[in-house]
């Protein structure tokens, strides 16, 4: 078995099946609890990423940043040098938000794969699952196959009523809108960012039309947790979140506390 299987997929898969066993053989409940646990474990990384994004956004809205942009708008090389200088002076790393995201990425992919494999909707997937089970997982044989019925859904098949794909798209849109930095003066970049905010949720909604419902449920839970985390840890301009705009976003309303500091 490869390194990915041993260190990422196999522990997650077996933990998920263990939760399924504990949680009354309800796979939706197991996905919910497992996603919350993973989000809690990776919370320090998420918080660090959000903090870096916030600092970067504040810096890019500052007067010194705008002055540099204006002064060197016709000299890209000099502009880049000056931007780096401003970053250094402010003690902000432009890549501060990237590293935590990169570390979280394998975890999220592993989680996705674990859910897909645990559902083992097809014989080939079940064959793969058989090779990843820990021999010491108690009563593993009695757990297979996973009970895939939940409400009107067969968790191994796409939702024929399209309820889940729509919820995936909407929840992802709200989450994306909450974490997308507001416009910084660069109209093109802002438009691209806003376009992604709309395109990505539509794309995932589209994928969910053919994904097993269990995966769609994971996406929705994950998005809702992301929304809750963001709402708790940073000020959110809800009016901006629920405005459907392809243009650059408005700068968020400055919280009263921050305004007093100014």
């Amino acid at each position: 078995m490869d390194i990915w299987g041993i260190f990422i997929l196999q522990p997650m898969l077996n933990a998920l099946l263990f939760l399924y066993q504990l949680l009354f053989h309800n796979f939706t409940l197991a996905i919910l609890v497992f996603t919350i646990l993973i989000r809690l474990i990776t919370y320090p990384l998420t918080a660090s990423q959000q903090k870096s994004t916030r600092k970067l956004t504040e810096l890019q809205q500052s007067d010194s940043w705008k002055k540099v942009q204006e002064k060197y708008k016709n000299d890209k090389e000099k502009l880049a040098q000056e931007q780096m200088r401003v970053y250094q002076e402010a003690g902000v790393s432009p890549f501060g938000a990237c590293l935590p995201t990169l570390i979280q990425f394998p975890v999220l992919i592993g989680l996705y794969q674990a859910i897909q494999q645990a559902m083992a909707a097809s014989p080939v997937q079940l064959f793969d699952l058989s090779r990843h089970l820990y021999p010491f997982l108690p009563n593993a044989a009695s757990l297979i196959p996973i009970d895939s019925r939940f409400l009107w859904l067969n968790l191994g098949l796409p939702d024929q009523l399209f309820v889940l794909p729509i919820l995936v798209a909407v929840s992802m849109y709200v989450q994306s809108k909450m974490i997308t930095p507001p416009g910084t003066g660069d109209q093109q970049a802002a438009q691209m960012s806003q376009s992604m905010t709309l395109t990505m949720p539509l794309m995932f909604g589209w994928f969910s039309l053919s994904f097993p419902s269990g995966l769609s449920i994971y996406f929705i839970i994950s998005n809702l947790i992301g929304i809750a985390q963001t709402a708790i840890t940073q000020p959110v301009d809800w009016k901006n979140v629920f405005s459907f705009s392809l243009g650059p976003a408005r700068a968020p309303a400055v919280p009263a506390k921050a305004r007093r500091k100014q």
């Binding site: 909707a121 097809s122 014989p123 080939v124 997937q125 079940l126 064959f127 058989s130 090779r131 044989a141 009695s142 297979i144 196959p145 009107w152 859904l153 067969n154 191994g156 098949l157 796409p158 024929q160 009523l161 399209f162 794909p165 729509i166 798209a169 709309l198 539509l202 909604g205 589209w206 039309l209 053919s210 405005s243 459907f244 705009s245 392809l246 243009g247 650059p248």
Partner: protein, 404 residues
Amino acid sequence: MKRVSLGRLGLILALGLLLAACGGQPPMTTWPGLAANDQLAFVAAHQQLYAVHISGDNYSKGAWTFPAQPDANIGGFAASPAVGPNVIVVAADGPSSRYSGAVFGLNPENGQQIWCLALDAKAAGRLPNCPAPADASASGPTLPFGISLATPEDNRVTDRVTLAGDTAFFGLNNGKVYAVDALTGKTKWPAPFQAKQAVWAAPLPDPDTNLVYVGSLDHNLYALDLATGALKWQKSLGAAIAASPVLSDGVLYVGTFGSQVLALSAADGSQIWAVPTASWVWGTPVVYEDGLYFADVAGNVYAVYASTGKSRWSAKPGDALRAAPAVTAEAVVVGDRTGKIYGLNRANGAGLWPALAPLKGQLIGSPVVISDTILVAPYNGDNLLVAYSLTGAQKWAFAPTQGK
């Protein structure tokens, strides 16, 4: 500032749904099904059933395909067909992601459709001359754009269709088991039998006892009345049963995901013996003379005495083994997940053949031995069918473009 109205957003979503409904090629979610008679091998793969000559001057050449061209309404083929002298019975999945399912009776000579049975009432309308039985799953009321208000049932046949006389038997992913007239496609039981979970294993009919034995992923082995489908007895084996049992001298031998093979009385299901294995036993055990041969997914091959379950030998030739071995007078032949095929000495489990180069793809389906030829159908390989001699030498291979 340019703004997108709610109406426009709704339009984008509606467009997405509409485009998704157009669908694409269904993914292969299981390995190819394989069956053969003296002249032809039948490979159920992708969106067609391929008939390939295995003897005569045209060996290794395609004979016919069903349907002649892939048909989205018929969908994919994966379950091994049942091959009779006058009819081949094969199951198709139905349109991608709906799995409405249909079963066809074909002329073995030319692949022409003799009959069709839709397993979903709605699918019956999409296939010509393909009625659905009265008890077929109904998809419920349908809204514009084909939106159904009921969860569709998964009507796929996973393993294979079996024949006993003029009756074909098959189990579905939704737990139903059907008996149909192999020559007309008419259902024979008053209602299909319903297991609690999917029936992947092919039903095993026994005209001597008038019973049909059905293993289910719900952990039970069921014995049904051959004529009516009524339940005669059932036995919980504590773990999923994904392959049919084998019957010999009044004893059923069955492997389970509980990592054991059991010998049960065919009359009432009482246990005679059980032998533990290192991992799940997915394939049907094979009885040959006084021996019983089977493999587990950890890659072990076992030979035990059929009467007592006492071990004769065990061997681990390669990687994971999903399928039942093929057994000849000399050899026990298995194909593994990495595409390697092995011949083991039937007497002691020692390797008979030199190491063979692996085929592209995985050997997850059971090998089939016809006369002096071993046939395998790799999953995700370059070839649909590969033929070996009984000494392990590759004879020929068939790829889908040949003979078309």
